[in-house]
C-alpha cells in the first residue's frame, strides 16, 4: 500500500494538516494561559502600603480592631466579668459563660477576645513593616505619626492580652504567606515580664513619634498624651501583681506627670457631660485622652460602624417604637458600689441609674431604697442621651472611653503613694482634683485629708470605683492589688436572698469567682493547634 506514491503524498498531506491543527490548538494552550494577573482581581498585600492614603486606610483598619463585636464593640461591654465588685452581669444568654465567671477554656468570648486582639497586632505589624518604605511620598511628621499610632496600638493590644492571659506569644513580626510553615505558625508563650517590657518599649517609641494632643485634638486618635497615659497604666500593672516589679511605680509617676505637664488636659466640669459627650460624638480631648469611635445607627453605607455602648450596658429598655433606645441592660451595680458614694456625690445617680422602665407604654419609675442596690442598672451610658435619630435597637453611636484624664490623675496619685519617697501630699491633691469635680462645694468630705500610705491606698481603691466604674478596668485593678479573690468573696456575702433573676445572676457571678480567675485560661482551640503553648494554673 505504501508503495503507491500518490498515497505517500496523501500521507504527507495528512500529517501536515494534523501538525497544522495541533499547532493551532496548542497556540491557545501555551503555558502563558496559566498566568493570571491576580492583582487585577484582588488587593495583593505586596502591592499595598505604597501611598500615604493606603497607610492611613491600613491604620484605620488597625484601629477598627477595637470596635469589633468580640471586643469593645460588644462583649467587653459587660459580658466578660470586668466589673468585679462594682457590678455584675445579669443576662440570661450569658449564663454559664465567662460573663458569670463560669469560665472554661472553651469559652467562645474568651476565644474571640484572644483572636481579635491578635488580629489587630497583625494589622499593626503589616503596617509597621511597610511604613518606612522610602518610596512612599509622605512627610516625615506624618510618617512618624502613623508609625507611632501603629506602635501604640500594637502595645495596647499586647497589653490587653497580657493582663488577661499572663505570658503570651509575643508577635513583633507580621505573618506572611511566603514564610508559612508549621514551625512559624506555632509559638510558645513569652514570660509575662518580657511581654511587659516589649509593650513599654513600643509605647516609649510611640510617644516620641506621635503628635501632641494639642495637635491631634481628639481622643479617637493616639497622641503623645495617650501614649504617656498608657505607659502609666502599663507601669502600674507591671508594678503590681503578678509581676511585682515595684520600681515601675516611679516610672508610672513620671509618665503621668508628663501628661499633666503638657498643660493641655483638664476635667470637664460636669461628670455627666463626659458621658453625654461620648453619646453625642462630641470630642473632648482635654478629658478623653483615648476612646473608641462608634458612629451611626446601622443605616446607610456605614452598616457596621455602630456599636453596643448603652445597648448592652445601659438602662434596660424593652423594644418598642419610641425613641428612647432599646437596651438589654445587662450590667447591674452592687451594694458595695452603691454605698461607696457619699452624700452629694453627683457621680452616684449617673453611674448607677436611680430609675427603671416598665409597662406599655413605658413608665419611668424610681428604684426604692436599699433593697434594690443590686438591681440598679449601669447608668453611665444612656440611650436617652443619644441625639442621632432614629435609634436602632442593634447599633448605638456612643463612643467608649479607654483612657480619661481622671484616670491619669488617680494613677498618678497611686504611683506617688506606692513609689519610695513619693510625694503623698501631691498624691492626695490628685485625688481631690477628681473629687472636687464630682462633689459640690460645701459638701462634707468633699476633699480627703489622708496622707498616710495605707489610708491613701484605701481611698484610691474606693475612688477608682466611684470614678471609673463600668469602664472595664475594675477586675484588672483588683488583680494587680492582689485583692481579687477576697473582694469577690466579700461581695458574695452581700448578695441578698431571693429568687429574682438578677439575684440569682449576682449569686452565680460572685460564688463562681475563684482564685484562678485572676487570669483566663488559654483557649482550648489554641492549645490544640499550637502545641508550644501551656495552660494557665488551675485550668
Amino acid at each position: 500500500m505504501v508503495h503507491n506514491p500518490l498515497k505517500t503524498k496523501n500521507w504527507m498531506k495528512n500529517i501536515k494538516i494534523y501538525i497544522l491543527l495541533v499547532t493551532v490548538a496548542l497556540s491557545f494552550a501555551c503555558s502563558k494561559v496559566l498566568d493570571i494577573d491576580a492583582g487585577k482581581y484582588i488587593i495583593l498585600e505586596e502591592d499595598y502600603y505604597k501611598t500615604e492614603e493606603q497607610l492611613n486606610a491600613a491604620l484605620r483598619g488597625t484601629y477598627s480592631t477595637l470596635a469589633e463585636g468580640a471586643l469593645y464593640g460588644g462583649n467587653m461591654l459587660g459580658r466578660m466579668g470586668f466589673e468585679a465588685d462594682e457590678g455584675y452581669e445579669s443576662y440570661s444568654s450569658d449564663l454559664q459563660t465567662v460573663g458569670d465567671y463560669a469560665v472554661y477554656a472553651t469559652d467562645a468570648k474568651i476565644l474571640g477576645y484572644y483572636r481579635m486582639f491578635y488580629r489587630g497586632i497583625n494589622r499593626a505589624n503589616l503596617l509597621l513593616e511597610s511604613v518606612d518604605d522610602p518610596a512612599i511620598t509622605i512627610s516625615a511628621k506624618e510618617r512618624n505619626h502613623i508609625k507611632g499610632q501603629a506602635l501604640f496600638l500594637r502595645g495596647y493590644f499586647h497589653f490587653m492580652l497580657a493582663n488577661k492571659f499572663g505570658g503570651i506569644p509575643l508577635m513583633l513580626k507580621a505573618t506572611r504567606s511566603n514564610s508559612v510553615t508549621t514551625e512559624d505558625l506555632q509559638k510558645p508563650r513569652t514570660a509575662l515580664r518580657s511581654v511587659y517590657l516589649a509593650i513599654i518599649s513600643d509605647l516609649e517609641t510611640a510617644q516620641e513619634l506621635l503628635k501632641p494632643m494639642a495637635e491631634v485634638n481628639t481622643g479617637t486618635q493616639a497622641s503623645k498624651s495617650a501614649a504617656w497615659a498608657m505607659l502609666t497604666r502599663v507601669c502600674l500593672y507591671m508594678a503590681g501583681q503578678p509581676v511585682n516589679e515595684t520600681s515601675k511605680y516611679a516610672e508610672a509617676a513620671e509618665w503621668a506627670k508628663k501628661v499633666k505637664d503638657a498643660n493641655y488636659h483638664e476635667l470637664n466640669p460636669s461628670y455627666e457631660k463626659v458621658f453625654v459627650n461620648y453619646a453625642t460624638d462630641v470630642m473632648e480631648a482635654k478629658e478623653s485622652i483615648f476612646e473608641i469611635d462608634f458612629s451611626g445607627n446601622g443605616t446607610g453605607v456605614f452598616a457596621s460602624t455602630g456599636g453596643a455602648v448603652g445597648r448592652l450596658n445601659g438602662i434596660q429598655y424593652p423594644l418598642d417604637s419610641s425613641n428612647v433606645g432599646y437596651s438589654n441592660g445587662i450590667l447591674r451595680s452592687t451594694s458595695y458600689l452603691f454605698n461607696l458614694y457619699g452624700t452629694g456625690d453627683s457621680r452616684k445617680d449617673w453611674a448607677i441609674a436611680p430609675y427603671y422602665y416598665t409597662g406599655t407604654p413605658r413608665v419611668k419609675t424610681n428604684w426604692t431604697a436599699q433593697t434594690t442596690t443590686f438591681a440598679r442598672f449601669c447608668g453611665k451610658f444612656r440611650r436617652e442621651s443619644e441625639i442621632l435619630l432614629p435609634k436602632s435597637s442593634v447599633y448605638s453611636p456612643q463612643n467608649y472611653p479607654i483612657m480619661r484624664y481622671a484616670d491619669v490623675l488617680l494613677m498618678y496619685a497611686e504611683a506617688l503613694n506606692e513609689m519610695p519617697g513619693g510625694d503623698k501630699i501631691l498624691a492626695r491633691e490628685q485625688i481631690n482634683i477628681v473629687r472636687r469635680r464630682a462633689i459640690p462645694v460645701g459638701t462634707v468630705d468633699r476633699e480627703i485629708t489622708e496622707t498616710d500610705y495605707a489610708d491613701l491606698k484605701e481611698v484610691i481603691i474606693e475612688e477608682r470605683a466611684r470614678e471609673l466604674c463600668f469602664e472595664g478596668l475594675r477586675k484588672n485593678d483588683l488583680v494587680r492589688w492582689g485583692i481579687f479573690k477576697t473582694s469577690m468573696q466579700y461581695l458574695n456575702g452581700l448578695v441578698p436572698v431571693g429568687t429574682s433573676s438578677y439575684v440569682v445572676a449576682a449569686r452565680a457571678y460572685y460564688s463562681n469567682a475563684k482564685e484562678r480567675d485572676v487570669l483566663w485560661p488559654i483557649p482550648t482551640s489554641e492549645l490544640t493547634v499550637n502545641r508550644l503553648l501551656t495552660q494557665n494554673v488551675g485550668w
Binding site: 496559566l34 493570571i36 499595598y48 484605620r60 472553651t106 490544640t528
Partner: protein, 1056 residues
C-alpha cells in the same frame, strides 16, 4: 383554578414545527424529481417478527442524494434503476443491501444487530462497549429515571446507582441537591462531582438548565481508572451526561407533557386551642388569664369549642406543575439534527414559591466529506425559582425565631379578639408591633425572593479521520450563565417592616453573577487491530479551559413607593454595593491506552497532566496516573462448563485523582476594604484589613483509589450482579485548616490531613418473568460506605463543628470529626429524662433543693426544680457541662440503596421504585424550640407532643416541665432521632395505545405517576431526608426545612 396559560405559545410552537417539517420535506424531495428515467420502487420494511419498522433510511447506494425514510406503516417508495443497489439502514439493525430489481413484494426484513445490543458506555473522552469496560462506571437507566416526572434530573437520581448518594437539603424548588459519589473526600472543600455535558467539563453545573427529556445517557464514573482522565477534578467522581442527538431516519416529532399536583407530605401536629390555652395558663397564669379569661364566665373548658387555626393549612398549598417538551429529531447519513424545547411551570407547596423554565436545545451533526465531520450543540435555558428560603434565618437577632416554619408552627392557633388574623400583619390582641408576633403567612405572601439563571451553551467540533486508524477531534465550547438574585421586602414583611430593630425599612437587593467558561479540547485517537487477537486503542490529547466569574450587586433600604416593587429600589438609600471578579485557567495533556487480548484480557492505562492557575508556578503541574485490568472470565474454556453462569468479569483498578476546588487566589496574601473607622471625630472612612493569609505552597489534594469489581451474569444474563469493593485514601487534604490565631488569621489553606473511604456496592438486575405478554424486571442496588479520618491538621486529634442556628447554640459544637472515626458524628450530652422528686430534699418551707449527690444539668444547683431536664454527668464531677459531651450518634448512613421493579403487561407498564437510607441520625432542632419553648415566650404554640409535659400530676421522663429546659445552647440525645427511612419514591402506571388505534402517529403513551407516595420512618419531623445546614462536617440537621412534596402527575408521550 388551574389553567393552561401557555396555549398560545404551544400553538405557535406547533406551527413553527409544521413549517420546519414542510421545509424539510421540500428539501429532501427536490433531488428525486430531478431524475426522470427512474422506476418507482416501493415496499414495506419490518423486523424479523414482522413488526413494521418506522424511520428506516432507504437510499440508493450509487447516488447518495436519493433517499427516503419508511413511514409509520413501514412503507417507502423511491426511484431507482433496476441494477442499482438499495440500502436499508436503521440503528440497532444490520444494514441490508438489495438490488432494486430483486426487491419484490414481500416485506423487507431487517435483522437485529446483536452487536448494537451490546450497550455502548460513554466514558471520559470516548466510549467503549459495556463488556470492555475496565473501570467502575455506573449507568443510569434513563427510561426508569424519567418515570419520575421531575423537572430536574438530579431529583430522580437518588437510589438509582450504587455508590451515588443524592440528597436534597430541604426539598425547596430550585434548592441545591447534593450528589456525593462514594463518600466525601474533602473536609472543607467541595465534594460535588465534575459534570461533563456533551464533552464540556463543568465544575459548577446548573442542573436546572437541562430538560430530563433531552438526556440520552448518564454515566457515573466512580473508580480512579475511569476518573483519572479528568485529573485534578476527578476525585469527587464524574457524571457524564450526553444529550439526545439526531438519528438516521425520518423526522420524528415527540411531544411529552405532564401536569401534576404537589402537596406537602406531612404536617406537624400542634396544640389545639384548648391545650394551647391550658399551656399558657400553666406558664404564667396572671398574665395569660388577662388575655384568655378576661371575659366574665369564660373558663378554660370553653376553649374546647374554639375554632382551631392550623397555620400550616394557610402556608401549604396545592402546587400545580405543568411540563411540556417538544422535539424534532431525524437525519440522514450525512446530516443528523435534533431540536427540542421545554417549558415548565411549577408552584411550590408553600405559598409564593415555585419555579419555571424555558429551554431550547439544538444539535447538528454534519458529514462534510468522507473524512471530516462537524458537530454543533447549542442550548439556552432560562430557569427561575422563587419563594422565601424557608430554612434560613430572617434576622440575626433571636435568629431561631425568624425561621419561617418556627413562626408558622408557633403562631397562635386561635383568635381571641377582633383582629382579622388572616389579613393583618399583627395579632394585636397579644402584643402590638412586636416583630415576634408578625403573621408569617402575610409576610410570606408579600416577600419577593427570586433567582433567575440564563444559561447559554455552545459546543462544537470537527472530527477528522485519516490514515484509516487515526481520528482527530478538535472541539471548542463556550458556556455563559447569568444568575440574577432579586429580593424585595415591603412593609408587610418580616424584613421590611420598620422597627428600631430594622431601621432599613422597606428594602431590596439585586445581584448579578456572570460565569463564563470556555474550553478547547483536542484529542487524537488511534485504533488498531493486529491480527484477530490484539486490539489497541490509544488516545492523546491537549485541553485548555478557563473560567471567569463576575459578581455585581446592590442593596437599597428605606424604599418609598413600595408598590413598584423591585423597580422602586432606585428611590431607596443605597446601602451596600458589591463587586468582585475572579478567574482561573487549566491546561492539560492526557493520554490513555486500552489494550485487549482476545477480548479476554483488557488493560487500560491513563495519564493526565494538569496545570492550574490556582497554584504557584513551580508547583502548578500535577500528574494523575491510573491503571486497570479486566479479565473476561466468562470467555475462558473452564467457565463454559458452568452453564448457569452466562458471563463473568473481574476488574481491578488503581489510580490517583485530584481535587482543586479552592478559591482562584487562595494562595495569595491579600487585603480587602472591609470596614470603616473614624480617627478624626468626623465621619468614618474606609479601612483596609488583611483578608487572606494565603499559602504559596498549596497544591491539590490527591485521592488514590483501589477498586475490585466482579460482574456476573446468570441464566443467559437474566440475572446480572455487579459487586464492587473500593478503598479511597485522600491525602494532602486541601484543608482550610485552623491555625494558632496569634498569627492574626484563623485558618490557612494547607495540604494536610488524610481521610479514607471504604465501601462495598452491589447492583443486581433481574428479569423475573418474561412471557409474550408479561415481563417483570427488577433492579436492586445497595451501597455501604465507611469513612474515617486518618489524620487532621498538625496532630489535631479532633475537629469540632457548629451550625449557625441562634445565639445560644452557635457556639455549641454539635459535630465531631475525630481521627479514627467518621468525618462527622453527632456530639453532645446524653439526655436522662427529667429530675423527679426523689432527686430533691424537701425543705421546711416546702421548696425543693437538689440533693448533693445528684449532678446538676448545668444550671445553678439552687434553681433546679423537679421536672427540669436532666442529663448524664459523664465525668462524675457533679455538673453537666462541656466536659460531659460525648459522641451521641451517627451522622452518616450505614447503607443506602434503591429497588426498582418494572412490570409490563401487553400495553400496560407499571414501575415501582423504593429508595432508602439506613443507620443515620438526625438532629431534630425543631423540637428544641417547639417542644418546650425554652425561651418561655408567651403565646407561642407548641407541638402537640408537649401536652405530655412533666407536671406534679404527670410525673414522667419525656418532656420537661414548663421553663425546665435547663441551660441554653445544649444539644442532647433528646432531640437526636433515627433518620432511617424507606420511601416509596416513584410509582408509574403507563399505557401505550395500540398502533391500530392511533392512526398517523407512531406511538402514544399515557401515564399516571406518583412521587414520594409513602415513607416509612420513625423520624418525628417533617421528613427524614433533610440537612438544612449541609456540609460534609454538618449533615443531618433539621430546622425549619421546606416540606417534602408528594407529587401526583398525569402525562402523555406522543411521537409521530
Amino acid at each position: 383554578m388551574y389553567e393552561f396559560k401557555t396555549e398560545p405559545i404551544m400553538q405557535k410552537l406547533l406551527k413553527s414545527i409544521k413549517l420546519l417539517l414542510l421545509l424539510f420535506v421540500l428539501f429532501s424531495a427536490i433531488p428525486s424529481f430531478a431524475q426522470q428515467d427512474l422506476k418507482l420502487f416501493s415496499g414495506t420494511v419490518t423486523d424479523e417478527e414482522g413488526e413494521t419498522l418506522v424511520g428506516v433510511y432507504v437510499r440508493v447506494k450509487e447516488d447518495t442524494k436519493r433517499g427516503v425514510a419508511s413511514d409509520k406503516d413501514g412503507k417507502f417508495s423511491l426511484r431507482a434503476k433496476d441494477n442499482e443497489t438499495i440500502v436499508f439502514t436503521l440503528i440497532g439493525y444490520l444494514q441490508r443491501e438489495i438490488l432494486a430489481k430483486n426487491l419484490g413484494t414481500a416485506a423487507i426484513k431487517l435483522k437485529q444487530d446483536l452487536k448494537s445490543l451490546q450497550e455502548v458506555i460513554v466514558i471520559g473522552y470516548g466510549q467503549v462497549n459495556k463488556q470492555d469496560v475496565t473501570g467502575a462506571v455506573g449507568q443510569v437507566k434513563i427510561e426508569d429515571m424519567t418515570k419520575a416526572p421531575v423537572t430536574s434530573f438530579e431529583e430522580a437520581l437518588a437510589g438509582r446507582i450504587a455508590g451515588v448518594q443524592v440528597s436534597s437539603n430541604s426539598g425547596q424548588p430550585g434548592d441545591d441537591i447534593n450528589i456525593t459519589i462514594r463518600g466525601g473526600n474533602s473536609i472543607t472543600q467541595s465534594n460535588a462531582p465534575l459534570y461533563v455535558v456533551d464533552g464540556f467539563p463543568i465544575e459548577d453545573f446548573n442542573a436546572g438548565s437541562i430538560n430530563p427529556d433531552d438526556i440520552e445517557s448518564i454515566s457515573v464514573l466512580k473508580d480512579a481508572s475511569a476518573t483519572a482522565i479528568y485529573g485534578t477534578r476527578g476525585a469527587n467522581g464524574v457524571i457524564i451526561l450526553e444529550t439526545k442527538k439526531g438519528k438516521i431516519g425520518k423526522p420524528q416529532v415527540s411531544y411529552n407533557a405532564f401536569v401534576g399536583l404537589h402537596q406537602a407530605t406531612k404536617k406537624m401536629e400542634l396544640m389545639s386551642p384548648y391545650d394551647f390555652v391550658r399551656y399558657q395558663l400553666d406558664r404564667d397564669y396572671n398574665a395569660m388569664a388577662g388575655v384568655y379569661l378576661d371575659n366574665a364566665n369564660l373558663t378554660l373548658e370553653d376553649y374546647k369549642n374554639a375554632d382551631p387555626i392550623d397555620w400550616q393549612d394557610n402556608l401549604f398549598t396545592n402546587g400545580y406543575v405543568q411540563n411540556h417538551s417538544l422535539s424534532l429529531r431525524g437525519g440522514t447519513t450525512q446530516t443528523k439534527y435534533s431540536i427540542s424545547g421545554n417549558f415548565v411551570d411549577q408552584n411550590g407547596v408553600i405559598i409564593n414559591s415555585g419555579l419555571s423554565r424555558q429551554q431550547f436545545r439544538a444539535a447538528l451533526d454534519q458529514t462534510i466529506n468522507k473524512n471530516l465531520k462537524f458537530s454543533l450543540n447549542l442550548s439556552y435555558a432560562r430557569d427561575k425559582n422563587y419563594g422565601q428560603a424557608v430554612a434560613s434565618q430572617s434576622s440575626g437577632q433571636n435568629a431561631y425565631a425568624t425561621y419561617l416554619m418556627y413562626r408558622v408552627w408557633g403562631y397562635r392557633p386561635l383568635n381571641t379578639g377582633d383582629t382579622d388574623l388572616f389579613e393583618d400583619l399583627f395579632d394585636e390582641d397579644i402584643s402590638t408591633e412586636s416583630i415576634l408576633v408578625m403573621n408569617p403567612i402575610v409576610s410570606t405572601k408579600n416577600e419577593i425572593r427570586q433567582q433567575t439563571k440564563n444559561t447559554l451553551n455552545f459546543n462544537g467540533g470537527i472530527t477528522y479521520d485519516f490514515l484509516k486508524d487515526f481520528k482527530l477531534n478538535i472541539r471548542g465550547g463556550f458556556n455563559t450563565r447569568l444568575t440574577r438574585n432579586e429580593s424585595f421586602n415591603n412593609s408587610n414583611t418580616y424584613r421590611g417592616f420598620y422597627t428600631p430593630n430594622n431601621l432599613n425599612g422597606v428594602n431590596g437587593a439585586v445581584a448579578d453573577i456572570t460565569l463564563n467558561d470556555w474550553v478547547n479540547e483536542n484529542t487524537l485517537t488511534y485504533k488498531k487491530k493486529i491480527n484477530r487477537d490484539n486490539a489497541f486503542d490509544v488516545l492523546v490529547g491537549a485541553t485548555v479551559q478557563g473560567t471567569n466569574v463576575n459578581d455585581y450587586g446592590f442593596f437599597a433600604t428605606n424604599v418609598p413607593q413600595e408598590e413598584l416593587g423591585l423597580r422602586a429600589l432606585q428611590y431607596g438609600i443605597p446601602k451596600t454595593v458589591s463587586s468582585s471578579s475572579s478567574a482561573n485557567t487549566l491546561l492539560s495533556f492526557l493520554s490513555r491506552v486500552n489494550y485487549n487480548y482476545k477480548s479476554k484480557y483488557l488493560f487500560t492505562a491513563s495519564l493526565r497532566a494538569d496545570g492550574s492557575s490556582k497554584f504557584k508556578e513551580d508547583n502548578r503541574w500535577a500528574y494523575f496516573p491510573s491503571g486497570a485490568f479486566a479479565w473476561q472470565l466468562g470467555r475462558e474454556k473452564f467457565m463454559k462448563s458452568l452453564k448457569f453462569i452466562s458471563s463473568s468479569k473481574v476488574r481491578l483498578s488503581y489510580g490517583i485523582t485530584g481535587n482543586n476546588r479552592i478559591n482562584d487566589f487562595a494562595r495569595l496574601q491579600s487585603l480587602d476594604i472591609l470596614d470603616y473607622y473614624s480617627t478624626t471625630g468626623s465621619g468614618p472612612l474606609f479601612a483596609t484589613l488583611p483578608s487572606n493569609l494565603g499559602n504559596d505552597n498549596i497544591s491539590w489534594e490527591k485521592t488514590s483509589q483501589f477498586d475490585a469489581g466482579l460482574e456476573l451474569g446468570f441464566f443467559k444474563d437474566r440475572v446480572n450482579l455487579v459487586v464492587d469493593v473500593y478503598k479511597k485514601v485522600t491525602d494532602d487534604l486541601l484543608l482550610n485548616a485552623n491555625i494558632p490565631t496569634h498569627n492574626g488569621y484563623n485558618t490557612i489553606y494547607k495540604n494536610i490531613g488524610k481521610i479514607q473511604n471504604t465501601g462495598l456496592e452491589f447492583t443486581l438486575s433481574t428479569v423475573n418473568v418474561k412471557t409474550k405478554n408479561f415481563t417483570w424486571t427488577s433492579d436492586f442496588n445497595i451501597s455501604f460506605n465507611r469513612n474515617k479520618v486518618l489524620e487532621l491538621s498538625d496532630g489535631q486529634s479532633s475537629l469540632l463543628s457548629t451550625v449557625s442556628l441562634t445565639g445560644d447554640y452557635n457556639g455549641t459544637s454539635l459535630y465531631m470529626a475525630k481521627v479514627g472515626e467518621p468525618v462527622a458524628s453527632f456530639y453532645g450530652v446524653v439526655w436522662a429524662g427529667n429530675y423527679q422528686y426523689d432527686d430533691f430534699i424537701k425543705r421546711a418551707d416546702g421548696s425543693y433543693l437538689l440533693k448533693g449527690s445528684v449532678p446538676t444539668n448545668g444550671n445553678e444547683r439552687n434553681i433546679i426544680q423537679p421536672g427540669d431536664i436532666k442529663y448524664v454527668d459523664q465525668n462524675g464531677d457533679g455538673v453537666v457541662n462541656d466536659l460531659d459531651m460525648v459522641v451521641m450518634g451517627r451522622a452518616l448512613p450505614v447503607h443506602t440503596g434503591g429497588f426498582n421493579n418494572n412490570f409490563n403487561y401487553k400495553n400496560f407498564s407499571l414501575s415501582i421504585f423504593f429508595q432508602w437510607n439506613y443507620g443515620n441520625d438526625i438532629m431534630n432542632a425543631n423540637r428544641l424550640m417547639l417542644e418546650g419553648n425554652p425561651a418561655n415566650r408567651p403565646n407561642l404554640n407548641q407541638f402537640a407532643s408537649y401536652n405530655n409535659r412533666w407536671t406534679p400530676e404527670n410525673q414522667n421522663n419525656t418532656y420537661y416541665k414548663i421553663d425546665g429546659s435547663g441551660p441554653r445552647g445544649v444539644y442532647s440525645t433528646r432531640t437526636l432521632e433515627d433518620g432511617s427511612f424507606l420511601r416509596l419514591k416513584t410509582v408509574q402506571l403507563g399505557y401505550s395505545l395500540p398502533k391500530k388505534l392511533v392512526k398517523r402517529i407512531s406511538s402514544l403513551q399515557v401515564y399516571a405517576s406518583a412521587q414520594n407516595l409513602f415513607t416509612w420512618s420513625n423520624y418525628t419531623g417533617m421528613d427524614p431526608e433533610v440537612s438544612t445546614k449541609n456540609s460534609i462536617l454538618t449533615p443531618g440537621f433539621d430546622y425549619s426545612a421546606y416540606a417534602r412534596n408528594r407529587i401526583l402527575t398525569m402525562g402523555l408521550k406522543v411521537s409521530f
